[in-house]
């Protein structure tokens, strides 16, 4: 009796397993790697959820691994088991990965959608944003922010120079634990023209000068590592100033109502975007998804959830209001004329060359 029962159960489960695997064969599951927090949230709401609604057999899984994306891509590629399907990555890392052949080269005009006005992608995406293997998505900026409650009214800091002025603007400052952006600001505050920063920084004297300027505020420095830490430090009043990504600061200030104020002077702007791992199992599906997720309307949609500028010209006019707050997003974009008066464009070529050496030095400088 019990044996027969077992047989029935066994047969039944075998059938259902078969049925399940047959059903799964039609399902498409993508693992998308991004930066987590408010940023991933904006992608989920602008891209992933609408897509999954239109295509119920698709499933998109989020992974917050972008901070170590290059390490992850390399080790997955070396181990021969690539589990990531689509990765959000900085252009400098993308260039490295591209040269190592671990991500796919992209023919933008062939693989991506034309702009809504018919402009081919190679012209529609912002100048200098396209990479060999890189599909731009947003333009973001790293900015200095302060907590209004930590300063007296009428004496708010306004420039990067003020950030380096501990006498008139006392208090601790949180900066990221890496040389990029910080060394640019040190030179900018020391009077170097934004256009010439990288020429100066490529000389030993220029590097000395930047470290000397950083030395002047070193006693007041706190270091952060991940993007989510800087608004947190600022909200806890552990620091008066913090450097951070403008979208996360926007999220904290506008959505959570923190008394944060962005100093747009000397904002360091850079692109961020997608890359496709070369040996992923779902390359065709990923390309199908990307064609849709990087079109004019989709890029504009993302700006309804976070204050990062879309990387297409044709998307700019479609930027509307915040999806939950109803405020105009345009004026919170790094590229808005009111904010874009003294930008520093992050030079990726410079940092791929100097990262090894300057990161060592910076690390050493932090530890001393």
């Amino acid at each position: 009796m019990s044996q027969r029962l077992l047989k029935v159960i066994g047969a039944g489960s075998a059938v259902s397993l078969l049925a399940m695997s047959a059903a799964q064969a039609q399902d498409i599951s993508l693992t998308v790697v991004s930066w987590g927090g408010a940023y991933t949230e904006s992608q989920v709401r602008a891209y992933h959820e609408p897509w999954m609604e239109m295509n119920p057999e698709w499933e998109i899984i989020n992974d917050d691994g972008s901070a170590n994306a290059l390490a992850g891509l390399r080790s997955q590629s070396e181990a021969g088991s690539v589990t990531w399907d689509l990765v959000d990555m900085l252009p400098s890392d993308a260039q490295l990965a591209c040269e190592e052949g671990i991500i796919l080269p992209i023919d933008h005009d062939e693989m991506l959608a034309d702009g809504e006005d018919g402009t081919p992608p190679s012209e529609d995406f912002l100048e200098g944003s396209l990479g060999e293997c890189f599909i731009p998505q947003i333009i973001y900026s790293t900015v200095v922010t302060y907590n209004r409650d930590m300063f007296e009214e009428g004496n708010y800091p306004e420039t990067i120079e003020d950030f380096f002025d501990t006498e008139n603007f006392p208090g601790r400052r949180a900066i990221q634990n890496r040389p990029a952006v910080n060394m640019e600001w040190a030179l900018y505050a020391d009077g170097v023209d934004p256009e010439e920063i990288y020429d100066v920084l490529a000389t030993p004297e220029g590097q000395e000068r930047a470290f000397a300027k950083l030395d002047t505020i070193k006693d007041d420095l706190v270091f952060w590592e991940e993007g989510a830490q800087s608004p947190q430090l600022l909200a806890d009043q552990e620091v008066s100033f913090a450097t951070g990504y403008n979208g996360r600061i926007f999220e904290a200030a506008e959505v959570e109502g923190q008394p944060f104020e962005i100093i747009w002077d000397g904002q360091v702007v850079e692109f961020d975007g997608w890359v496709v791992p070369a040996d992923g199992e779902n390359v065709d599906e990923v390309m199908e998804y990307l064609y849709w997720a990087t079109d004019t309307q989709r890029l504009a949609d993302q700006a309804s959830y976070i204050s990062y500028g879309p990387a297409r010209h044709s998307s700019q006019d479609l930027v509307g209001q915040h999806a939950d707050l109803g405020i105009d997003m345009a004026e919170h974009m790094p590229t808005h004329p009111d904010n874009y008066f003294a930008p520093i464009e992050l030079n990726n070529e410079f940092w791929t060359d100097w990262r090894d050496e300057l990161a060592e030095r910076f690390n050493n400088w932090m530890a001393q």
Binding site: L70, G101, F223, E238, A367
Partner: protein
């Protein structure tokens, strides 16, 4: 079965030699015994085989691979074989550029590499490898490799036009020096040394030394934590060993409770307690002991690392101490006192020496665990509380210099093994007692 048969035969026919004896089924006894022995060994091996296989795959093999990575250097010899050969005649000591043949060879190497399918091209990893030695080499390689097809004789001028770095003898010295399949350069860097232009190894400038002081700090921090766990753990273990079992067990639970709590939870709890707006600071300010503007900074620095790690590692000291102390009969102390020793002398000369195996075991555990500690210093250590493991993690995850990370890891492993060897020579590892 055969074993049982053999031993029966042995018992009954002791006077005959083994060769001539046979078992009930006619097999010579010696062979039968051997077979039984082999079977027993196989059986024992079968029992430990899963563990052995496990250790081999997840422990020995990865460690071996890590050590290999710290000297592995295939990038230059694989991608630039012709250049390496052409450079043989060039004298790196002379402060001049190599001759035209070398540039021609480099042109041929790059051109050959560009022919390969993208995945097999070596220029990407070559650029990364060279950039560890010379800043700017990465863009020099990638930019030049792409336009090398259009180069015309003389190649030297074309290369110098393509990137300024090809006009500096330094990059050629590095290519020549690192052209062997194995390299010492990761270890040179891990020991705060660098190559001088003449090829000798020298100490780096003072401002650029990182790792030796970090190793020393790691050892000093571990020793401090070891001392603190001993000072805190010894009295409590002694007290517990004198209590009746039931009360001792209750106390033991208090020791073990944090041991069973997640490491992250305990570390985060310390952040809550120690931070500037935290419980301790606020209490002190509330009591008027310190002013609001002079709050103590007890976390995100060395103090944070020491406090949190001492707490986390305390059970590793208490458990071996307690079990050793439990085994020391109280009658020894009574006898010492009966023979006229004062309490302190009796403790020092009779009791304390008997606890040494426990101290040794606890000490080795705490010290070796704390040398490799990673999570806690990363969370509460700030800059001054960083340990060498954090630096290894940084090279694994963000700077992506895995060779250097492997060299640092190997140095750490070797120094732990040396310390253990010294301990073994001084105290004897067999005197370790975990309970």
């Amino acid at each position: 079965m055969a074993q049982a048969d053999a031993s029966m035969d042995l018992d009954t026919g002791r006077e005959t030699s083994l060769e001539r004896m046979v078992t009930a089924d006619g097999i010579p006894l010696k062979r039968s015994l051997k077979r039984a022995e082999r079977r027993r060994k196989l059986f024992a091996l079968g029992l430990v085989a899963p563990l052995l296989a496990f250790l081999l795959t997840v422990f020995i093999f990865p460690i071996g691979q890590m050590m290999w990575r710290s000297v592995d250097n295939p990038q230059i010899i694989n991608t630039l074989p012709r250049t390496v050969e052409a450079l043989e005649a060039w004298d790196p000591g002379a402060d001049e550029l190599p001759p035209e043949e070398v540039f021609a060879a480099l042109q041929a190497d790059f051109a050959a590499d560009q022919e390969l399918p993208r995945r097999q091209q070596g220029t990407g990893s070559l650029g990364v490898r060279l950039n560890y030695e010379v800043s700017g080499a990465r863009s020099a390689v990638s930019r030049t490799a792409r336009q090398v097809d259009g180069f015309a004789v003389p190649y030297k001028d074309e290369f110098l036009d393509a990137h300024r770095l090809w006009g500096q003898p330094e990059i050629w010295r590095v290519i020549k020096r690192e052209s062997r399949p194995l390299t010492a350069s990761y270890y040179v860097q891990a020991l705060d040394r660098e190559y001088a232009p003449d090829g000798s190894i020298q100490l780096r400038d003072e401002g650029q030394r990182t790792y030796i002081s970090l190793f020393l700090r790691t050892f000093a921090l571990s020793a401090t934590i070891l001392g603190l766990t001993f000072l805190l753990g010894f009295p409590i273990s002694y007290y517990m060993s004198t209590l009746p079992m039931r009360q001792a067990n209750l106390l033991m639970i208090f020791v073990l409770l944090p041991f069973w709590t997640s490491l992250l939870v305990r570390t985060s709890a310390w952040i809550v307690l120690l931070q500037q707006q935290g419980v301790i600071n606020s209490t002190l300010v509330g009591l008027g002991i310190i002013g609001d503007d002079s709050r103590l900074s007890m976390v995100y620095n060395m103090t944070g690392t020491i406090v949190a790690m001492t707490h986390i590692l305390l059970p590793f000291m208490v458990l071996p101490l307690y079990s050793v102390m439990r085994g020391i009969p109280p009658s020894y102390m009574r006898a010492a006192k009966g023979l006229g020793a004062r309490p302190w002398t009796a403790f020092r000369r009779v009791y304390f020496p008997q606890t040494l195996p426990g101290i040794g075991a606890g000490g080795v555990l705490v010290f070796i665990i704390s040398i490799g500690y990673y999570i806690t210093p990363a969370l509460v250590g700030g800059q001054s509380g960083r340990m060498i493991s954090n630096e290894i993690a940084r090279h694994m995850q963000s700077s992506l210099n895995w060779g250097l990370a492997a060299a640092l890891g190997t140095l750490l492993l070797v120094s732990v093994m040396i310390l253990y060897w010294v301990y073994n020579r001084l105290v004897g590892a067999d005197s370790l007692k975990l309970g």
